[in-house]
Symmetry: C2
DNA sequence: TGTTGCGGTTGATCGATATCAAAGCGCAAA
DNA sequence: TTTGCGCTTTGATATCGATCAACCGCAACA
């Protein structure tokens, strides 16, 4: 496979078929919904990973969440961004790392006791299949993200993030391009990408200056040239496969 | 069959005894073993993630493996190091990323068709529980590792890796300290830690010069002062919880 | 109305790490 | 043995991103 170029037909195809590719997460099994408490989130709300002192498991129904960890010395890292369909048993979070979930938008999250969820996975084959799918999707995304943090330069990381968001939640803007709401604050995004917030801001400004993106306000981005943006990230193809289910051809 | 650590089943961290190894991987369910092909690995051997053109799932029985990905522009990243008990369905690997498994030591790996494994998880509650445990352990480790790559400086990353290895496979050396075999080459380790190989080599040399570690040869490390080494990584506590007993004092 | 605080942006500077280059080492094939 | 090659180490230099500091916009609030 070739690196992405601006002429890449796959990229073009994706840019043109964005309306249809809204995320392909399978429906959450009824057995899970029935046994879960529904939590309606608002932006900024944080959810403890424990629940009456016991472990909990979360399933994202809608909206976007982030899983934060803080290690000693004040090192903060956003370990994962969670989209609808994703599953987070509290055991997924590293121990002794002050882990917590934060809602980045309004949405709904299902919460169960870990034991309940675990039993469901063990006894209900639909839930088991659902869990396997979710775990695989999330692991694959984490792999890409690790490669981005470990190997990409600043601009590539930012382009990767923007490309993923555009694919996941972008909608066609009136003047052409794709609009979406930026779920993470600049600070959280820096913690996600392994960058300094100042550096991130500079990189954003450079992308804005180059005309690839623009901002209505800090939280509303417009991708003016998706193909050029995607060409900036070495992970473009992988992102298409992960986030744009309809273009696998 | 087993890695070198069988000589000393109880890990000792300097003078402090570790409690029973809470993180010891549970036994692989018989149902998995019965349906799997056993692959005996030697160091350097690579295993394709597909199997007769179909997806495969792997379960590590003994030894250590690495999951490599290569993104366009030649960016290599070791996405995970796999220890006994770990599970890797090929769907865990990012798509379009030239992913493959490489054995880093002699060992045994069970290989199944993905479909077979998936059905087992869906129908056998022991397997389902096993898979959940493995997925959680691996996700938690990945979280720590992401934080290390995203937020730690060079020395902290190396100390983190060495601490984890010492906890997992270190055995007490005659002259005091903990010995273990380094499963990754310097190049692979650099790709795992998100560092340049030159920089990694320099950092190792500095640690060696400071007396914390020494090398019999490139692949045989001796941790001379585990406590001091662990003190260099902000993730020490998390690693203790994930990889072995806990620091008692 | 001013004050305070927080998050974001931008500039100037510094330093850790990447890059480039050269040499040593280990190992396998010839 | 020699040859060759890949991995490792080490030195010199370059550079990207972090750090420090100032300022802005905005919201909460007295």
């Amino acid at each position: 496979m070739q690196p992405a170029s601006t002429q890449d037909p796959i990229l073009l195809a994706s840019a043109q078929s964005l309306e249809t590719n809204a995320s392909a997460a399978p429906a959450i099994p009824d057995a899970v919904v029935e046994r879960a408490a529904t939590v309606r989130t608002r932006r900024g709300q944080s959810l403890a990973l424990s629940y009456d002192g016991g472990a909990a498991a979360f399933v994202v129904r809608s909206g976007i969440l982030a899983l934060h960890v803080t290690l000693p010395e004040g090192l903060r890292q956003v370990v994962a961004i969670l989209y609808p369909g994703d599953v987070v048993p509290s055991a997924f979070a590293p121990p002794h790392a002050s882990a917590f979930l934060t809602a980045m938008s309004v949405g709904e999250v299902l919460r169960l006791r870990s034991k309940t969820f675990s039993e469901l996975v063990a006894t209900d084959s639909d839930v088991a299949r659902y869990f396997q799918d979710a775990a695989a999707r999330q692991a694959a995304r984490q792999g890409i993200h690790l490669a981005a943090v470990g190997r990409f330069d600043c601009q590539q990381r930012v382009a990767t993030y923007l490309t993923e968001l555009a694919l996941r939640i972008g909608v066609r803007a009136p003047g052409g391009g794709l609009t979406f709401e930026m779920p993470l604050s600049r600070t959280d995004l820096a913690d996600y990408l392994g960058l300094n917030a100042d550096t991130l801001s500079r990189t954003m400004s450079r992308l804005r200056a180059s005309g690839l993106i623009s901002f209505q306000d800090r939280q509303h981005a417009v991708v003016r040239d998706f193909v050029a943006l995607a060409a900036l990230t070495p992970a473009a193809q992988s992102l298409m496969a992960l986030c744009g289910g309809k273009l696998s051809g």
